[in-house]
Amino acid sequence: MAKIKFILNNEMRTVDVEPNETLLDVLRDKMGVKSPKCGCDRGDCGACAVMIDGKSVRSCLVFAIEVNGQEVTTLEGISQPKLTKLQEAFIQFNSFQCGYCAPGVIISATELLNNNPHPDLEEIKEALSGNLCRCTGYQPIFEAIMDVSRKRKK
């Protein structure tokens, strides 16, 4: 066991982890953060995406011990203090059905809009290519992101 310390959703947290524990397992099982989901546990579905220092990563592929001293943001953190424009658009466009992919999709889309305020459709598709969704055909997800981009000032 090793003690690690990192910022989780704007709060300094410490936790004891085994060297082989993934960030996904530690967030879910030891820190009560449940939005990252496990769909494959090997980097193929994107449901477990979180941000480390602003960059999206698949938390099932990262050892928890590696985030020592860094800043981790999950969908819970993004939703504070209030919904982002993107989340509002996802509601408005009925972007999700079962919603299991949503935490990962929202992380990827948030990262995209942070880096590229006005992505075109191809860029959106590219940014989400690591997030599998079985319910929606992705179209309502694209529409919501496009809408946010459109409403932003150029």
Partner: protein, 766 residues
């Protein structure tokens, strides 16, 4: 007829929870002192069990209990139709997904670490891995007690096939195959169970059917149904796949909890889910079709063989739908159809969105175009000459006159909106200057709604108005992610003339409301919605009776409008809240229980004749695509769908079903195939079982067609499955128009013939 393709506002009751990550799925729930369970599989696909040794596993760190068949106090055998599935293998291994034990430990990792220590002593038996082989005399029997490998057989005998043969000017024969596919719901199976102090086993789980789960759990534990309460929580996708397997996972978990007297959670890894969960049936379909020179079909002879794998599950129902819809949406006077559901030692197959229709549609919608071409007819005209119209008789002898038969309408809409006729002229048919071949294709279908003669079909709803005017609503329909709760709330609001904001959908539990059957067969809105409408009607009548004196009118003259009750002339009025307050003060409960029973259907198993379904829906989908002749890559350019849904209750959510269904259908068309080798499921995870990604999907257009259905109290019919049953044949037709080649095997994999030298160098490079 009404069509809709403009944007309206989407609304769903769980949207906020889902976009903020606070929605709690089964594995997100936590209980104090919870143990963790994991399944143990064997390396065999067919074997006789001699012993299952668990002592060593019991001694591993953290292990609390290793559960095997010996621990089951109730029934070991399961099955919705034939009880041929053992919840724990005890005498035989019949397929790779059979579970021989479940290990319960303090932590999930400890349970996983103990798996190799469970030892199975078994004697390998010959396996049968091909459905046609399984049908042969003398092939090994998967279930000896069943006496044969035929799980079920259905037929249709209509008219006189010899007459049809005689009348035909041309005859066309073709064999098609479809593959096994995986549901690939994003959330693998999960269950959390605990024995409540009152003795009730409480079950939370990722499953589609709380009531069948309750049956499975009670039966395993040997308890009455009333001692098991299944509660539903958000589920990460089902698509028909969270029926048997998911219920069995719940039953095993409940048993572990009962034995250890502690809460137990069992969350499947993707690998276990892929290995154990049932798939869509692979079919072999052999058609012989006769036609007159004018394009009229004179007969269809068809034989279908579905590989059901090691267990029956719902194979007889799946293949029954294939039987009823064996000629696609066409009028055929003479039909001879034989359909076999077959046992093999492959992974078993069961319900999946579409339920026996995607396979048939993949074949018939290509066959009809092949026939058109042979006759020199246009494929749209060919369809028009044979398709069902108002008053048509289906191949099973059902007259379609109870609702609007809108097949031609949806076809016309798609032909127009996609500019099909012009674009058809531009198709490459294998010839192009560069390597890009272009094609457009479409397919049509009709589909019997709800269960039909598959089973009893009724549902209920409870509306319980609270003293402050807020409303608790509950139905026997399960939220699978499709938005059924939202649809029920909207229907309730509409039929009580109140705002939807008053209505809270109660977290459903099997102990609150009568068994509404399963949320399958796209029956949620139709059956559950019907019950809501009926409950609302009763409640309105009750309120009107009590409040009429205050409005100085007769009960039947009370009008409900925008949260206000009026008399006929609107001289007097009372707010909804005030009306409810008055009811309570007069000791009258504003509470109602509504039921909707599906109208009678009929079926004769020997002739395959009957009114199979009480209503039908009609659909057309089209696709444009490009085929790269060099790389053999198919690129989808756009997809369009028109579906008659009866009435759109929540249009934006309905469109969500269109998009998701088209996307899944497209995956079936060009990509998905769950290989089985030597009886073992080949893909272990999502890197080997690919589904379409954001970059693979083109723009989609959804066109809602509304023809109010008089047999449905809400007018709505349903949409979940129809959207997922014709994109694959539309793609196959488009690929034909692009390449000039037919691909009768699903998924469509382009094979470009190369000259020998080229083929060699290609081979060397690899």
């Amino acid at each position: 007829m009404k069509t809709m393709n403009s944007k309206s506002t989407a609304w769903r009751n769980d949207a906020y929870a889902k976009v903020t990550g606070i929605a709690k799925y089964t594995d997100d729930l936590k209980m104090l002192n919870c143990l963790h369970a994991v399944p143990v599989y064997s390396d065999y696909v067919s074997a006789k069990i001699i012993s299952i040794e668990t002592d060593k596993a019991m001694k591993q760190p953290g292990v609390v209990k290793v559960v095997t068949y010996k621990d089951v106090p109730g029934n070991l055998q399961f099955g919705q139709i034939i009880k041929d599935y053992s919840i724990f293998a005890h005498d035989r291994i019949r397929t790779c997904g059979d579970v021989i034990a479940v290990i319960v430990a303090i932590s999930r990792q400890q349970a996983i670490d103990a798996i190799p220590f469970v030892k199975l002593v078994a004697e390998e038996l010959p396996a049968v891995l091909d459905a046609e082989e399984a049908l042969k005399e003398g092939s090994p029997l998967v279930h000896e007690s069943h006496g044969s490998n035929i799980a079920n057989y259905h037929c249709v005998r209509t008219g006189d096939i010899a007459k049809g043969e005689k009348e035909a000017d041309i005859i066309i024969e073709q064999e098609f195959t479809t593959s096994r596919i995986e549901h690939a719901y994003m959330e693998p199976e999960s269950a959390l169970c605990w024995q409540r102090p009152d003795g009730v086993m409480e079950v939370f789980g990722s499953m589609q059917h709380p009531f069948s789960t309750r049956r499975f759990v009670a039966s395993t534990l040997g308890k009455p149904l009333s001692d098991v309460e299944v509660k539903t929580v958000p589920m990460g996708g089902g698509f028909g796949g969270k029926d048997d397997t998911a219920a069995i996972v719940c039953a095993r978990t409940a048993l572990c909890s009962m034995m250890t007297k502690r809460p137990v959670k069992m969350t499947y890894s993707r690998e276990w889910s892929m290995r154990e969960s049932y798939k869509r049936h692979p079919y072999k379909i052999q058609y012989r079709m006769g036609l007159k020179n004018d394009g009229k079909i004179t007969f269809v002879k068809v034989r279908m063989v579905a590989d059901g794998g090691a267990y029956c599950s719902v194979t007889p129902w799946v293949t029954w739908r294939s039987t009823v819809q064996c000629c696609g949406p066409y009028e055929v006077p003479n039909v001879h159809c034989d359909v076999y559901g077959v046992y093999t030692n492959n992974i078993y197959c069961g319900a999946m969105r579409g339920f026996g229709s995607p396979q048939v549609n993949f074949a018939i919608e290509q066959l009809i175009e092949m026939a058109a071409e042979k006759l020199g007819l246009d494929e749209i005209e060919m369809r028009r000459r044979n398709m069902v119209h108002q008053g048509s008789i289906t191949v099973t002898g059902q007259k379609l006159d109870m609702h609007t038969v809108s097949l031609e309408q949806v076809l016309d809409i798609v032909v127009k909106e996609s500019d099909y006729l012009n674009k058809k002229q531009k198709c490459s048919f294998g010839k192009s200057e560069n390597d890009q071949l272009y094609g457009i294709g479409l397919a049509i279908s009709y589909r019997g709604m709800s269960l039909g003669a598959e089973g009893t079909d009724f549902n209920s709803a409870i509306i319980n108005v609270q003293p402050d005017g807020s409303i608790l609503l509950e139905t026997g329909v399960h939220e699978n992610g499709q938005g059924s709760e939202s649809a029920m709330i909207l229907l309730c609001a509409e039929h009580l003339s109140v705002s939807k904001d008053r209505i809270r959908y109660r977290q459903p539990s099997t102990s609150n409301i009568p068994d509404g059957g399963t949320t399958v067969a796209s029956r949620g809105t139709l059956l559950g919605g019907g019950a809501v409408v009926n409950a609302a009607k009763q409640l309105r009548e009750h309120i009107a009776r009590v409040i009429a004196p205050d409005l100085k009118c007769k009960a039947e003259d009370v009008i409900f409008e925008n949260e206000i009750l009026y008399d006929k002339d609107k001289k007097h009025k009372i707010s909804f809240n005030e009306a409810i307050r008055l009811m309570y003060s007069r000791q009258e409960y504003p509470y109602s229980f509504g039921v909707f029973q599906a109208p009678q259907v009929s079926w004769d198993e020997h002739t395959g004749q009957g009114n199979a379904y009480f209503t039908w829906v009609y659909a057309c989908q089209a696709v444009e695509l490009k085929v790269n002749a060099k790389t053999e890559q198919i690129t989808l350019l756009n997809m369009i769908a028109a579906h008659d849904v009866g009435k759109a209750v929540n249009p934006e959510l309905l469109k969500g079903q269109f998009y998701g269904g088209m996307a899944m259908g497209a995956g079936y068309g060009i990509l998905e195939k769950c290989d089985v080798k030597n009886g073992k499921v080949v893909p272990t995870n999502l890197h080997q079982y690919r589904i379409l990604r954001s970059t693979d999907l083109p723009e989609m257009t959804a066109i809602i067609v509304e023809n109010y259905d008089p047999v449905s109290p809400s007018g709505a019919k349903g949409i979940g499955e129809p959207t997922n049953e014709i994109m694959a044949p539309a793609i196959a037709n488009a690929v034909y128009h692009a390449t000039g080649k037919r691909y009768p095997d699903q998924p469509v994999k382009i094979i470009v013939e190369r000259r020998d030298t080229e083929a060699q160098s290609h081979g060397e490079k690899k």
